[in-house]
Amino acid sequence: MKYHKPKTFEEAAQIAAGSNGVTRFLAGGTDVLVQLRSDVVTPDDLIDIKGIDGTKAITKRGDGGWDLGVAVSGAEMMEHAELKRDWPGLVEGMDLIGSTQVQGRATLVGNLCNGSPAADSVPGMIAAGCTVSITGASGTRNVPVEEIPVGPGRTALTKGDVISAVHIPPRGARGGDAYLRFIPRTEMDIAVVGCAVNLRLDGDEISEARVVLGAVAPTVVLVEDAAKAIIGTALDDGALDALGATATAACNPIDDKRGTIEFRRDVAAVLAKRAAKIAYSRAKGGQQ
């Protein structure tokens, strides 16, 4: 295994493009090192991108949105009061990954590129409408997060592509987001079901919404029917029931060591309803 520490994303992309074997980008390393230690993946070229300027930056844009460097850790996001105030659901989704120690290293982009349908930070990013910059051979392009995962452990990135920044939209007025996941213990598990809800209110009514489920299908899924079920409502019981039903219907889960199909369908509905209530309360200015 060769270790590289490029100074620019272009250089990083070139190293990856020129590699004859398996490449991995290293930021937080909380997946890469586990795979290395357990002999699942030993890259031929390991490209540490933390030497590139700006990868540790959290920057508020002029439009009120945020740009995050790709090596910003979960702990750094949690410690950023303003970011957390704007996007509590997104930040909490990141914070739920692993232990305090893992939080010291783990990153949004790493979680995304690992390609797991159970990735805790990805539903929140998709619900928020985040995009990522991808630097490749033909320059840098901007892609919505939901287009990155294509299957368990697989992403739309091709050889020589490296994600170089995360962009979070402006929060704007009367918006709120939330992420909940179900795990058997209180900490340290992989999500059995995850659900992020991001919405905006007009009066008491929901005017915009995005509902995203994790760990219930081969990829994280943006559930448009679920959003429709609550748009135009004040999240009354009927809307919540419809939300739950659409969430269950959107599941295409598997039975595995972490949960059953039936359990995932049931709990998807439960979490969708609970997360929607929190997001709704936050949009109204609640502190939940």
Binding site: L26, G28, G29, T30, L33, R37, Q101, V102, R105
Partner: protein, 159 residues
């Protein structure tokens, strides 16, 4: 396979080592620098026995490559206190019988110290969640939690 030369500090002392890029910081601390208070319980970031601080940030040293530590300041249990001048946490762990086999103790001490630096007055729940990545199989955590809470109270009083 070429090795990398790394310069860093461990508990304030300058160190240098040569490492294979596949070696973790945990491997380097133990095998190249003889810092044996750092333990490997899982190698996958699930047990916290290898907890250290890197530039003040609590991490699992099994999830950091040795080569990544270039220029870093690393803190381990060996740097917390010395015989005759123990850290309050170390004293309280002994006093409260907060260890049985003791293999998880160095990691828990390092993690608890990192918490108390950030939050000198944690609630029991905050403490339990902070330490959720530090497995202890002997104690059921009860006496560990009591020891840390007691140490935090003493440290608040002293400051």
């Amino acid at each position: 396979m070429s090795k990398h030369h790394v310069s860093a500090t461990v508990n304030g002392d300058p160190v240098e080592y040569l490492c294979d890029p596949r070696e973790t910081l945990l491997d380097c601390l133990r095998d190249h620098l003889g810092v044996m208070g750092v333990k490997e319980g899982c190698g996958t970031g699930d047990c916290g026995a290898c907890s250290v601080t890197v530039d003040g940030r609590l991490v699992c040293s099994c999830l950091v490559l040795g080569v990544e530590a270039e220029g870093a300041e690393i803190g381990t249990v060996e740097g917390m206190g010395t015989e005759g001048n123990l850290h309050v946490l170390q004293e309280k762990f002994i006093e409260h019988a907060a260890l049985q086999c003791g293999i998880c103790t160095p990691g828990i001490l390092v993690a608890a110290e990192a918490l108390l630096k950030k939050n000198p007055d944690p609630s029991e729940t905050e403490l339990r969640y902070w330490l959720a990545g530090n497995l202890c199989r002997c104690t059921g955590y009860d006496k560990i939690i009591r020891a840390v809470m007691d140490a935090a109270a003493d440290m608040r009083e002293a400051s």
